[in-house]
Amino acid sequence: MKFFIKKTGQALITVFLVSIIVFLAIHSTGDPVGSLLPSQYTEEQKQQLTEQLGLDRPLAVQYLQFAGKALQGNLGESYISKRPVSDMIFEKLPYTFELAIVSIAVAFIITIIFGSIAALSRGKLPDLIISNLSTLFKATPIFFLAILMVQLFGVKWRIFPVSGAGTPLHLVLPAGLLGISISADMVMILRGKMIEALESDYVKFDRLKGIPEYQVVLKHALRNSFSSVLALSSFIFAHLIAGSVVMENVFAWPGIGTLSYNSVISRDFPVVQGIVLLLSIFTIVLSLLVDIFSAILDPRIRKKA
């Protein structure tokens, strides 16, 4: 419990710092006023718009206004559509969550199954196939695979829908592909950790005590190697977010990825700012979950905290 409170506190501080960084980063990319005005504009019009958007005030004041409103759930208005940013994001959010959670689940399942098989058959055929496939998936850009899948499953064989969301069938291609792509790294980490665990003294001792092999592998080797993979798994979130932007665009998934892509193109600052802030929070929450889950799996982590 103490662990949980401490980790949550750390997470909140991180969110605060991230909000400052996001704010500064967005504002350092230049003045959005120019791109919002018609091509022929007067100084007066520019002045007026700047004041209207509050861009003439000092940065610190602007940040406090932004943060104050953000705490109340108000992320400002889109420059383009004039709709509240929070509305725009929250109507897309469930789709993105759906894609993200299913992808992570797929990634972990693939990692556990294939990582274990590779470790247990080290140097033999299954290991070679899995290791090489993992390298292949790591080396191939995900958008290429996505387009290939659209061609094969959507256009040629017409097995799965390749555009939009709604049914579980819609999820198969984007979430499957994203899951596989994320697991490509993790499979090899699990394989390595498991080989280490299988050669450890405690596994040797378990076997020499006569504990059946399936129990040695599932209870001892797998849990130990998985907890190491989990502790290293924060890096997958960057992969997850970058990947979901690509997936959402290729598969016309109505989530935040598509929205963020469009907002960046049209320099719609409040929307971009809102999305980046939200994704950061999402990442922080996932990290928090990983920490908590790691602590459940490994007593040494509980103690360290």
Binding site: S200, D201, Y202, K204, F205, D206, R207, L208, K209, G210, I211, P212, Q215, K219, H220, R223, N224, S227, L297, D298, P299, R300, K303
Partner: protein
């Protein structure tokens, strides 16, 4: 089934370890027997094959990549090397068990001591959960492990306590043979003695045979009834403990005893054995100790010495006795 007074007989065991550079001849004709309720010591420097012998006895050497090319290991008359998987699962832990060198790594860090002990009891003894708990606290008391230690995770305990717990896990299945592979090497000197006493207690109270593997002549002579000296994959001398200490036969044993002699250390006369053990990549057809031996001459370079008897239960592999 033949019931001799020996619980374990190792006969002409030969084994090699394939490496990219060629086969490493790890065990060259190792023979010895361990009597019931005896504490049998195997001493030798690292790489001499003592741990591999232990692993072979437990039928675990092949898992480590060792190829046993010849010989047999009879446990109560049955050849361990021919055990089926099913027979092996009964044998490991229940009949022959091992205490590993480093207690810090012998337990799974993710489970409590109790959990891992429980797992072992349930595997080998047909008892209910309640009975298992009772057995556990009984054994814990016997080995002076405080009951609350059982709820700890391995990282929360000291090396000495963990080795005690490892001992308890083994004793709990009542094995007939315990192999202790350098069980005190990772412990503090003060804890070492306690642990040796504990092992003796286990041996006496449960009528267990113990094979005690160590590189430390002092430790081994404190607990063992008979000692085998191993060198370059061979047993070069076997003798009862006192006999070996007082009348060492093999030049290697003599050198080993001298290097551990405290009186000489006090006088600043360190005796070390110059040189290194022979390269095991080639099969050795001479005395393996020849190039480090002060007395080597003639025959030593030409042929391997055979075991010669010199006193009751005392055998030495040397041409010049």
């Amino acid at each position: 089934m033949q019931m001799s007074d020996a619980i374990l007989e190792v006969k002409n065991l030969k084994a090699k370890f394939p490496t990219p550079k060629g086969d490493l001849h790890v065990l060259n004709d190792v023979s010895f027997d361990v009597k019931r309720q005896e504490c049998f010591g195997i001493i030798g420097e690292s790489g001499c094959g003592k741990t591999m012998t232990a692993m072979a006895i437990l039928h675990y050497a092949e898992r480590l990549g060792l190829q046993i090319t010849d010989g047999e290991i009879l446990f109560e008359g049955e050849d361990v090397l021919r055990f089926s998987r099913k027979r092996l699962r009964e044998y490991s832990g229940k009949e022959a068990a091992i205490i590993l060198q480093n207690p810090m790594e012998a337990l799974d860090p993710l489970y409590t001591v109790k959990n891992q002990m429980y797992e072992t009891i349930r595997k080998h003894r047909k008892v209910t959960g309640k009975e298992a708990l009772a057995i556990m606290s009984e054994v814990a008391e016997e080995l002076s492990i405080a009951p609350e230690k059982l709820n700890c995770y391995p990282h929360e305990l000291s090396g000495g306590m963990l080795q005690r717990i490892v001992g308890a896990m083994i004793v709990i299945c009542r094995p007939k043979l315990i192999i202790a592979d350098e069980p005190t090497t990772a412990l503090d000197v003060t804890t070492q003695l306690q642990y040796l006493k504990l092992l003796k207690k286990i041996q006496n109270e449960h009528h267990t045979s113990i094979i005690f593997v160590s590189h430390d002549i002092k430790v081994i002579s404190m607990v063992c009834d008979r000692i085998a000296v191993m060198y370059a994959g061979e047993i070069v001398e076997i003798a009862p403990c006192r006999e070996l200490l007082q009348h060492p036969g093999h030049p290697y044993t003599k050198a080993l005893l001298k290097s551990a002699n405290l009186d000489r250390v006090v006088r600043n006369e360190y005796e070390t054995i110059e040189g290194a053990p022979p390269n095991l990549l080639e099969e050795i057809h001479r005395c393996p100790f020849e190039d480090r031996c002060k007395y080597a001459a003639g025959k030593c370079y030409e042929k391997k010495p055979q075991a010669v008897s010199c006193g009751a239960e005392h055998q030495v592999k040397c041409h010049y006795l």
